[in-house]
């Protein structure tokens, strides 16, 4: 099975689906995100990495319009989310382990509910396709609350692809999956990203996964982007063997790495 992406670094896609500029988020005197700017291109998978509390979920929440930045702008395909929230969010979707689908509705009912909210055309056919694609057709009339965590992840991904988003936000999408299921899910997401000209922002603590799927990674530390580059070449640029070594260095010695940055 063709699964993950590999090989030489690819040039960043010219057409941007997400442009975040000067993002800041403060809670009183606590600075959660400070001066973060980045882009996600079409057909590009960007890994947003960093230790717990680095600001990854805060950034994703701001892109999803459920958290207002203290400063900065977010454009989805050129649409300012602050001014045209509904238009921007119609081109976006997400799944996150901390935002499961309502457990008191069946898989089908959830997909129909969210399909209407996202204004999906030919919704019944789309739902059938996604249930087959994520191999959860047999759970069509099962309440999401009684699914295993892996099955819930698949249902969440089906919701995330319902509207064929141009920007897909994935917050640890394989965190609760066994290795075989994780590989399968990664392959499906990569295939979707390649075929549908979608940009993906992907957070994960699994560095092997990030190396396989991401075209580019952004390392966050204390709310700032510390490093950025290709996941397979970036570790060597900072004298580390693997992406995981680099991750640990970012978590433990962010100042040292920040000073190395040119």
């Amino acid at each position: 099975m063709t699964t993950e992406r590999s090989g030489a670094p690819r040039a960043p896609a010219a057409e941007k689906v997400l442009t975040a500029t000067g993002l800041c988020k403060c809670y009183g005197r606590t600075v959660a995100v400070e001066g973060v700017s980045f882009e996600v291109g079409r057909n590009e998978i960007v890994g947003l990495l960093g230790p717990n509390g680095a600001g990854k979920t805060t950034i994703i929440n701001m892109v999803l319009g459920i958290l207002e930045p203290t400063a900065g702008t977010i454009h989805i395909e050129g649409i300012d989310i602050a001014r045209h929230r509904s238009r921007a969010l119609a081109r976006t979707n997400f799944t996150a382990v901390y935002a499961p689908l309502p457990g008191n509705l069946t898989v089908y009912q959830n997909l129909r509910f969210f399909g209407l909210l996202y204004g999906v055309d030919d919704l019944a056919r789309k739902i059938d396709e996604l249930l087959e694609h994520f191999e959860i057709a047999r759970f069509r009339h099962t309440k999401c609350g009684v699914l295993s965590s892996g099955e819930q992840t698949r249902a969440g991904l089906a919701k995330a692809l319902l509207n064929q988003p141009h920007l897909l936000l994935l917050d640890e999408p394989t965190a609760s999956l066994d290795p075989a299921s994780a590989r399968d899910i990664r392959a499906k997401i990569c295939a979707f990203a390649a075929q549908e000209a979608v940009g993906v922002l992907w957070t994960s603590h699994n560095m092997a996964e990030v190396e396989k799927v991401c075209d580019r990674v952004l390392f966050l530390s204390h709310g700032k982007i510390l490093l950025a580059g290709h996941p397979q070449t970036l570790p060597r640029e900072y004298g580390k063997e693997t992406l995981e070594d680099l991750f640990i260095a970012v978590a433990k010695e962010p100042l040292t790495l920040g000073n190395n940055e040119t």
Binding site: K25, Y27, L67, E68, L89, P102, F113, F114, L116, L117
Partner: protein, 268 residues
């Protein structure tokens, strides 16, 4: 068109939940039916022990029915909202293109459907078992029901805003609100019965104008057009204020991160 689809989504979700759960279906009409039966027998007893010229059925049972309708409208709005609280669905919901106006529209449409079910059951019981007739009110019944409906919507949206602001535990503010308002709304007695300070409060409540007007008709006096006007005007004003307040609280929740950390009940 998209707005209709968004509102339909909220209504459809509520339909799915009610259809699959007796715990949601039964409260739509059981408590109101119990109220009608209880007050039906009370009025029957009062009719038996008081002057034959005085009919308590329209005075008390009619008032109970309309007050319960008002309560069901309010609960219809809040229960639909609370479904998102109970299922911790705010992240998924508010990350969609759904606007706040559409969301509130969905809550209102759901309330129309659920409160209508309760109203039909109450009417069947009150008319068939206790011979309640609304013919005495004539066409005035239409604006009466309208004002009570609008008041229930306004109060329901306000209650949703309070839960959004103060977290899931604030649900316990919601349920007693109609009971707390009922003494001021003068559902069962004339406004003049209340002490002056309570009358001041009553004049701020649209239902008080409706129940006062109903009693006037039953007493053979013409209903107050001005009272109906104030009831309607206040109900519309409260809907606007409640919608504004909900939007303001939602923006506060998005600004402070409360939406994303709702179960924490605090943004700090």
């Amino acid at each position: 068109m998209k707005s209709l689809s968004h509102i339909a989504a909220i209504l459809l979700r509520q339909f799915y939940l009610i259809r699959s759960s007796p715990a949601r279906l039964l409260p739509l009409f059981v408590w109101t039916a119990v109220d009608i039966i209880l007050w039906g027998f009370i009025t029957r007893y009062l009719n038996a022990v008081t002057s034959p010229a005085l009919d308590f059925v329209p005075v008390l049972l009619g008032a109970v029915l309309l007050w319960d309708f008002f309560t069901r409208v309010m609960y219809g709005v809040t229960t639909t909202f609370l479904e998102d609280v109970w299922s911790r669905n705010f992240l998924n919901l508010f990350a969609t293109p759904l606007s706040i106006a559409e969301y509130l529209g969905g809550l209102v449409v759901s309330s129309i459907v659920t409160s209508f079910i309760g109203l039909v059951v109450m009417l069947i019981l009150a008319i068939a078992v206790f011979s309640l007739s609304f013919f005495v009110y004539g066409l005035m019944l239409v604006p009466y029901v309208l004002v009570l409906f609008l008041s229930g919507i306004g109060l329901g949206v306000l209650a949703c805003a309070l839960v959004l602001r103060y977290g899931p535990a604030a649900e316990w503010f919601v349920w007693p609100i109609p009971a707390a308002l009922s003494p001021f709304a003068a559902v069962f007695y004339p406004l003049a019965t209340l002490p002056q300070w309570m009358q001041y409060v009553a004049h701020l409540l649209p239902p008080s104008y409706i129940f006062e007007s109903m009693r006037a008709i039953l007493a053979g006096r013409p209903p107050s057009g001005m009272g109906l006007f104030w009831g309607l005007a206040l109900a519309l004003l409260y809907i606007l204020l409640a919608g504004w307040y909900f939007t303001r609280i939602y923006r506060y929740a998005v600004r402070t991160g409360l939406i994303a950390r709702y179960s924490a009940e605090t943004a700090s």
